[in-house]
Structure formats: C-alpha cells, structure tokens
C-alpha cells in the first residue's frame, strides 16, 4: 500500500485528472452489463468520482512520514482515513436506491455545447489576464457570452463591458485596493 500511495502522490494534478478519468471509465465499463443501472449512469459516475478521490487519499496516507514519538495519538493520516471509512457505507447508501430503481433517473442533456463554450471562453479569458490584463479580458468575455446568449443590441454589447470596466476599476482597484492584473501588454504603459 505504501508503494501504491507513493506512486499516486508523486504525480502532478494533470495526471490526477487522468487517473480520475480512468477510474470513471472503469466504473462506466463495470455498470454496462447492468441494464437496470443505465438510467443512472451519470449519478453512478458522480459516486464513482467521489469514491475514487476518497480511495486515492486513503492510499496516499500510507506514504505519509511516521511521527517520531510513539506517544502521539494521531497522525496526519488519521482523519483522511477516517473520512474514507465513512465514505464507504455512505456511497453504498446512495447507490442502493439506484440499484433498486427507486432513484430519479438522470436528467436529459440540455444545451451542453453552450456550457462548454462558456467554460472554454472563461478559461481562455483567465489565461489572457496575464497578457492583456483583467479589464480587457473581462470585457471580451462579457461580449462573447452576451453574444452567445443572443444579445444583438449594439448598445448593450458596448455599454455593458465598458460600464463593467469602469466600475471594476474604480470600485475594486481604487476603492478596495484589489490589484487586478493589467497584463504584460499594458504594463509598460503604466
């Protein structure tokens, strides 16, 4: 267990995401033969995701350094392990109604493409903070999302981002002393 714990602990966050995806894929494969569980695929995968995180933490606790003093009643591993022990019955409790078919089935998918685009634009705008600064980046984000939500009024598309830029500068930067990033592009101008 110690070896396994060390293996997972030494990988970065990106790899943890890969491990999570693998765990979800395994869970998906495991429930495929059970037709009764098909309407709950999403919910089972949420349970599997949470359980994987608990299991991952549990395994990693075995790689923690041991305390020098034998008299110490608890270690850094005590609480994460305890929560994992609690998670096992709790996950089962949530899983049983699905197995019995008593749970509400998964909801139908809505416009997930819209969520994906907004999420992508949001992440891109966060990356852009470093280069074009918060103000311009958030203004572009506002225009794109408003456009995506079918706002076609030119006045709105100009006034809202400009208004937000002015408000955020005076309120956050000047009044509350929040040092919003200005970006490398504009850093030389200041």
């Amino acid at each position: 267990m110690e070896e396994l714990g060390r293996f997972f602990a030494t990988h970065g966050l990106l790899m943890q995401l890969v491990f999570l995806i693998i765990a979800l894929a395994v869970a998906w494969v495991l429930i495929r033969p059970f037709k009764r569980l098909h309407p709950y695929t999403g919910q089972v995968l949420v349970l599997a995701g949470v359980f994987w995180i608990g299991l991952l933490f549990f395994m990693i606790t075995y790689s923690f350094p041991m305390p020098r003093f034998a008299a110490v009643a608890t270690t850094a591993a005590t609480i994460p392990r305890f929560w994992f022990y609690v998670l096992i019955p709790v996950t089962l409790l949530a899983f049983i109604p699905m197995l019995r078919g008593e749970e509400q089935p998964d909801p139908k998918w809505g416009s997930v493409w819209r969520v994906a685009i907004v999420f992508g634009v949001l992440v891109a705008s966060l990356f852009a903070f470093r280069y074009i600064g918060y103000y311009l980046s958030s203004a572009i984000f506002l225009v794109v999302v408003m456009w995506l939500l079918e706002s076609r009024s030119k006045i709105e598309l100009v006034a809202v981002p400009v208004g937000w830029m002015i408000f955020s500068y005076f309120f956050f930067a000047r009044l509350l002393y929040v040092r919003l990033p200005v970006g490398t592009l504009f850093a030389g101008l200041l």
């Binding site: 919910q43 005590t78 609480i79 998670l87 998964d106 416009s111 997930v112």
Partner: protein, 498 residues
C-alpha cells in the same frame, strides 16, 4: 442591572452626536456594500476601514468599525438572495431559501425577511452581549477540545435534514467536503497532504472561492444548459411586505437569534456554523419542513438572524477577556490596541464610556441597517429586472473578480472555476451542494478538536466530560429521531390502510 442601564445611558449620550451618527451610518453603508461583494469578508471590510480610525477618538473609531462589521454581515445576504452569490460564507445559508424565493418572484419578501431578521438578530446578540458578556466568556473558555468536536458533530448532523429526499446524496456530498478539507498542510506536524507538488495547495482550498464556485458558477452553468432566449425573472413582488407579515416568522428569528449568539461566543465557531445549525433547528421545528430549500421564509429568517446575532456573540470573548473569537474580532482588537486600550475585564471598569458607547453604537448600527436596507432594497431588487442575457455574464465576471479579491491572486479564481464545474455536475445529478460547504466549513475544526482531545485526554475525554456526552447524544438523536419518526408514521399509515 441598574449600573448597566446607567452606563448604557452614558453610551447613548456619546452616540447622539453628529459625528458618531455620521460615522455609524458610513460604517453601515460601507459594510453593506463591501459585504454584498463576494470575496470581501466582514473582516476585510473592517480592515479596509481600519486606517480611517487611527486619527479618530477610540470610541468614534469603534463606532465606524462596528457599523461596518454589522453592515457586512447583512450585506452578504443581498447578493445571496438576488443572484445566489453569497457575499460572505455565512450568507450561503440565507441563499438556500432566499434565492429560490427570488427566482419565483418573491424577491421583495425574501429581502424583507432577510433585512428584519438581520436587524432583530443583531439586537438579540447585542442584548446578550451587554447582559452576560463576562459569565458567558468564562463558560466558553471552559470548553475542551472534546466539546468543540461535539459541536462540529452537531453541525454535521444538519446534513440529515439538509438533503431532504436526497439525504443519501447529501451524506456523500458532506463527506466529499470533509475529504477536500484534508488537502493542504496538516495542522499539527505540518505534513503536506494531497498537494501533488503544487505549492498553492499547501493552504488547502479557501472557503470563499469554493462557495462562489459551488453556488454561483454551478448554478450559472446549470442555467446556461437550460437557457431559453428572452428569459427573465418572474415579475411579481418587488415591494417589501407589510410589517405584520414579519410576525409570521418572529419565533424563527428569536430562536435563531439566541442560538446564534451562543454559538458565536465560542472562538472559532463563527456565523457560518451558527447559520447552518440554526437553519437545521428551524427546519426540524417547522410544520412544513419540505418547503425548506425551495423558498421558505423561515429558512431565510433563521439563517440571517443567527448570522447577525453571532456577531454580538463573537464580541463576548473579545470585550470580556481580550480574546478575539473571529477574524473580524481580531481586526477590532487591533484597532483598540492601536489606541493603547487593552480589552478585558478591566476595560469595563476603567473605560465604561468606551465599552457602553460601543454597545450603544451596535444598537444604532442595527437601526441604520434597517434604514439603509429599506431604502436600498428597492434599488437592489432591480438587479432581477435585468434580462438573463445580461445578468448571467455579469454574475460570471462578478464571481471571478470576487474570488480574485480574496488574496489578490489567480489561485482562488482557479479554485472558484473548478468548484463551479463540481457544482454544476452535482446540481445536474441531484447531489446537494450545501453539504459540501458544510464539510469544508467544519472539517478543519473537527480535525483540530478531535486530535487535540485525543492528545490531551485520550479517548476518555469523549465520554467522561458530561457536556461532550450531552452534545454527542443530541447529535445522535438529531440523526436517529427523524428516521425513527418516519418509520413509526409509515407503519401507522400502513396500519390505518389495513
């Protein structure tokens, strides 16, 4: 008692000067404004005004800061009710019912209940502070880690009612929150836990961006998935209800106010735990518990009253013993120290004018919260007038800048977005997000107190101390009672049918 009244009269004498009134109003206004902004906590709001107090007389400085403290506690609920983006962690509980009320066109009702509950809760907290500061502070200090642990267990039992029909999923969500809380430096030996080589994870996940992500971004992603062009909030009731309406929730406000004050007294417990516990208590007392979480005014009243009252409770150990029980109390303490004042039992004797002036200013701050809230509510509720194509993008940027403001860095923003995705997935599949917050809020206190108790008194400390036993028994009863009751009523119903 007579001494208290005489001193309080002196305190009001100080407060009824133009400068004190102006500073109190300024503090309340600034507090409400800052508190409504996600990422600006009451302690930050008070800290931002701290430099202004250096040149003021000590009492006037405290009037300004206490006004801001009280105002910020109320301000957090404004954004929680209107856009499901709690300005402060404790306001997250207000949003459980406040936001559903706003969404169904009862925005005026939600704002009104939140305002009056905040004011009355604040008054209850202040009265308790004045009457029982010294003895209560001594009782709080008698608390052992085992009692703190029992308090967190009691807090965790609120999940039993929070999930409603989805209680099994709520349990998964709360354990998920508790697990996430173990990320970062372990509080005793400083062992790095689950940081995966990421230095920024050493401090764990900050509460504020996690809450903004789970509630605001999670809800936004969900709404975007189901967005229909031209959607607006229902236009039903922007007007605040008549005064008689609030009589329907007076019991909830009073109970939550008293309980919130008591919880607020314990150093480290704070308004968030108070709000969670009081919300749970009111749900259990309610004849219509199913309506909680869907827009019950009693839920808003309980959360807001307890949160506001806990501010008074947090001042008990500060003024009576000189021990700051919360981050905001620590900022207030620093203001007193700057002026060469040492809070503690002697201050009541040496500086009665200052102490009772502060008490009087807290009453005045509550009155100003009502005034500013009544005037401002008409303006605040207009937010819901905006069409969703404008409101949604604005909430996004508001949430992002609010998260950024927490530490002036990108890390909380990343945390906020990550929790936003979690919030969306949880919301989509019927896993309540509030228990995740509960787990994050209580996780650290639970771990600290559990391990301290074991180190100091061993396992015996959990069953040899009567208060710990009582609290743990209450916690067990809180979980078991609804299950047993449900079974008994279920069997009775079957028996009647047969």
């Amino acid at each position: 008692m007579m001494d208290i009244l005489v001193n309080l009269g002196g305190g009001f004498g100080i407060m009824f000067t133009p400068m004190a009134i102006f500073l109190c109003l300024l503090g309340v206004f600034a507090g409400i404004t800052f508190g409504a902004i996600p990422g600006i906590s009451p302690s930050m709001a008070v800290a931002l005004l701290l430099p202004m107090t250096f040149r003021l007389e000590p009492i006037l400085g405290m009037v300004l800061l206490l006004g801001a403290y009280k105002g910020a506690n109320y301000g957090g609920s404004v954004s929680a009710v209107l856009i499901n983006t709690p300005g402060t962690p404790s306001a997250a509980v207000t949003g459980f019912d406040g936001y559903p009320m706003a969404k169904t066109g009862r925005v005026g009702e939600a704002m009104g209940v939140s305002l009056y509950a905040s004011m009355i809760g604040g008054i209850i907290g202040t009265v308790v502070l004045i009457l029982f500061a010294a003895p209560l502070a001594r009782v709080a200090l008698e608390f052992w880690p085992s009692e703190y642990f029992a308090l967190t267990v009691l807090g965790l039992t609120t999940v039993a009612t929070m999930g409603g029909k989805n209680w099994q999923k709520a349990l998964v969500a709360v354990v998920f929150g508790l697990l996430l809380n173990t990320v970062g430096m372990e509080p005793f030996a400083g062992t790095r836990r689950f940081t995966f080589g990421e230095v920024r994870l050493f401090e764990g996940f900050s509460l504020v961006p996690a809450i903004i992500g789970l509630f605001a971004l999670g809800e936004l992603f969900y709404n975007l998935e189901h967005y229909v062009k031209g959607e607006k909030f229902d236009k039903l009731a922007y007007k605040l209800p008549k005064l008689s309406y609030y009589l329907t929730v007076w019991k909830n406000i009073t109970r939550a106010g008293v309980l919130g004050t008591i919880i607020g007294i314990f150093p480290g417990a704070g308004g968030t735990i108070a709000a969670f516990i009081c919300y749970d208590v009111e749900k259990r007392f309610s004849k219509k518990p199913d309506e909680f979480g869907k827009g019950a005014p009693e839920g808003v009243a309980a959360a807001e009253s307890s949160n506001s009252a806990s501010a008074g409770g947090a001042l008990v150990p500060l003024l009576a013993l000189g021990i700051p029980g919360s981050a905001t109390a620590a900022v207030l303490l620093s203001s007193l120290l700057v002026h060469g004042l040492n809070p503690g039992p002697e201050m009541f004797v040496d500086e009665p004018e200052l102490v009772y002036g502060m008490f009087a200013s807290m009453f005045m701050a509550n009155a100003f919260i009502l005034a500013v809230g009544l005037l401002g509510a008409q303006l605040f509720v207009r937010v819901t007038d905006l069409s969703k194509k404008l409101l949604y993008p604005l909430i996004f940027v508001f949430a992002i800048v609010g998260s950024y403001a927490v530490t002036n860095s990108m890390y909380p923003v990343v945390v906020c977005v990550a929790f936003g995705v979690v919030g969306w997935i949880f919301r989509r599949y019927g896993f309540p997000t509030a228990p995740v917050v509960l787990g994050i809020v209580l996780g650290r206190l639970a771990e600290m107190s559990f391990r301290q108790a074991l180190m100091i008194g061993g396992i015996e400390s959990f069953y040899q101390r009567p208060l710990t036993l009582i609290m743990l028994a209450t916690a067990i009863a809180a979980v078991v009672y609804p299950i047993v009751k449900k079974r008994i009523t279920g069997r009775a119903a079957i028996g009647r049918e047969e």
